[in-house]
């Protein structure tokens, strides 16, 4: 469902650009509002969420899908943890559909999907590994590859047909589209701004995204 937000960037407590193909890691506290903005359009944003107090509790794609009885995320969708607790709720969305099944590209899966010699390319899983190795918020929580699970792909379009087919379709996002969610607990956010060049998930041209956080509504 398409819904806009009336939050003003000037009031945000965090306003950062994540460059094309780069990882980003940060905190969003309970009640704060987190916006991901697709600056140039059709940019897949691979995103994982962890309970900041106990990262063993993390976003679960299958629990989220099963609880809402639907594969796609949009306004009103609640992102659930494996413990069955709401982690974030999507409260604004000008794109309309976000993916839960496509996961992250990886050097290893690229060898399967495209060609054995595609291994050395940048990938989301390598971005996740890089962020976990360098971000204080990951090191202090002893987060590793073990904590990488099926992620959300904001702005990505992976339609499933009634016959069970699955394809990476051209994006439905566009420059300036955004998705906004309210944290229902303190969460660690781990993002790879997808560097994939082998399929249309980034329109073959990965681009920057803008990340904003607002404090809880008074």
């Amino acid at each position: 469902m398409l819904t806009t937000s009336n939050l003003i960037p000037g009031n945000a407590v965090l306003d950062e650009i994540c460059a094309a193909g780069e990882p980003w890691m940060g905190m969003v506290k309970q009640g704060q509002i987190f916006r991901i903005l697709d600056l140039e359009g059709n940019q897949a944003v691979d995103t994982l969420f962890y309970n900041a107090a106990d990262p063993e509790e993390r976003y679960s794609a299958v629990d989220t899908i099963r609880r809402q009885g639907n594969l796609y995320l949009t306004t009103g969708s609640v992102l659930y943890s494996g413990e069955g607790r709401p982690m974030l709720k999507i409260i604004a969305d000008t794109c309309g559909r976000h993916d839960t099944l496509g996961g992250a590209c990886a050097a290893e899966s690229n060898t399967v999907r495209y060609a054995l010699e595609k291994r050395p390319m940048h990938s989301c899983r390598d971005n996740f590994m890089h962020a976990l190795a360098h971000c204080d918020c990951a090191r202090h929580r002893h987060m590793t590859k073990r904590d990488i699970t099926a992620n959300v792909n904001f702005f990505m379009n992976v339609p499933v047909t009634p016959e069970g087919g699955l394809t990476f379709a051209d994006g439905i996002s566009a420059p300036g589209k955004y998705v906004e969610m309210r944290a229902e607990m303190d969460v660690v956010v781990l993002i790879s701004n997808c560097p994939q060049l082998n399929n249309p998930c980034n329109a073959y041209n990965p681009t920057p995204i803008r990340l904003l956080v607002w404090d809880a509504h008074r």
Binding site: A61, V62, D63, Y72, G82, R97, A106, R113, G164, L166
Partner: protein
């Protein structure tokens, strides 16, 4: 079948784990109809390598599994291949029940009153088995639900197909790596049946040999051909036969 290694029955609502070696196969038989087997797969040599739902679906451009499909690890290797299937559709999207869902649907049942007629969630069954191998919640990822069919309509809404599997239906997995297999036979989380009566499942292991050059799963798509090359490289030089 004359090369059976072992056979075992897992009651409905129960759970099981064990290692299936490369070149062995496992047949799951739905003994009563309407069974569900939640399954997870780990490389027993390096258990950080595990079944990856998105990679499995993306590589094969499918949202469900059937004969000819393989289960990919997150490292681009083939953990197991579906070499036989009388059911036609196995769910990959819906995860498992948890204790709250089971209590809400079936009421609270404990050992004091019901002894081994256990009413245990899929999640708790998987966690118990994972714990036996030093694994836990961090290792619990999106699972396969063998014998269950869940479709999605054009808007993404899920539809559970009741009693999709019939008594006697089977699915056969050939293990292409040494794999830790973790199973729960609790009901599918979207199964609307209000009584807790999950079906028992028979496990039959046999010596199947590794995937031949003309193997159906290997040649189902170029992606699988490359997945098998990655898998064979992992075992190269181990003195173990590869095709």
């Amino acid at each position: 079948m004359n090369n059976i290694l072992w056979e075992e029955t897992v009651p409905g609502g129960n759970h099981w784990s064990g290692v299936l070696r490369r070149d062995t196969a496992l047949r799951l038989t739905d003994l009563e109809g309407g069974a569900n087997v939640a399954a997870l797969f780990y490389n027993r040599e390096e258990k950080l390598e595990r079944y990856n739902m998105p990679d499995t679906l993306k590589a094969q451009h499918t949202a469900f599994l059937t004969a000819g499909n393989v289960c990919y690890s997150d490292m681009g290797r083939v953990l197991c291949s579906i070499i036989g299937d009388s059911v036609g559709w196995h769910d990959t999207l819906s995860g498992v029940s948890d204790a709250a869902l089971v209590a809400e649907k079936y009421g609270t049942v404990n050992f004091q009153t019901h002894r081994n007629d256990m009413v245990r969630s899929g999640r708790d069954g998987l966690l118990i088995e994972l714990g036996k191998w030093g694994l836990g919640k961090r290792d619990l990822v999106a699972n396969v639900n063998f014998f269950s069919k869940v479709t999605a309509d054009a808007d993404g809404n899920l539809h559970f197909q009741p009693r999709h599997s019939k008594a006697g239906d089977t699915v056969e997995l050939r293990f292409d790596m040494d794999v830790l297999v973790v199973l729960s036979t609790a009901p599918h989380p979207l199964d609307p049946v209000s009584q807790y009566k999950p079906a028992a499942v028979k496990l039959t292991a046999w010596h199947a040999g590794t995937a031949a050059v003309d193997d159906v799963c290997r040649n189902a798509c170029p992606q699988n051909q490359r997945g098998f090359i990655n898998t064979e490289r992992f075992y190269a030089g181990s003195g173990r036969r590869s095709c």
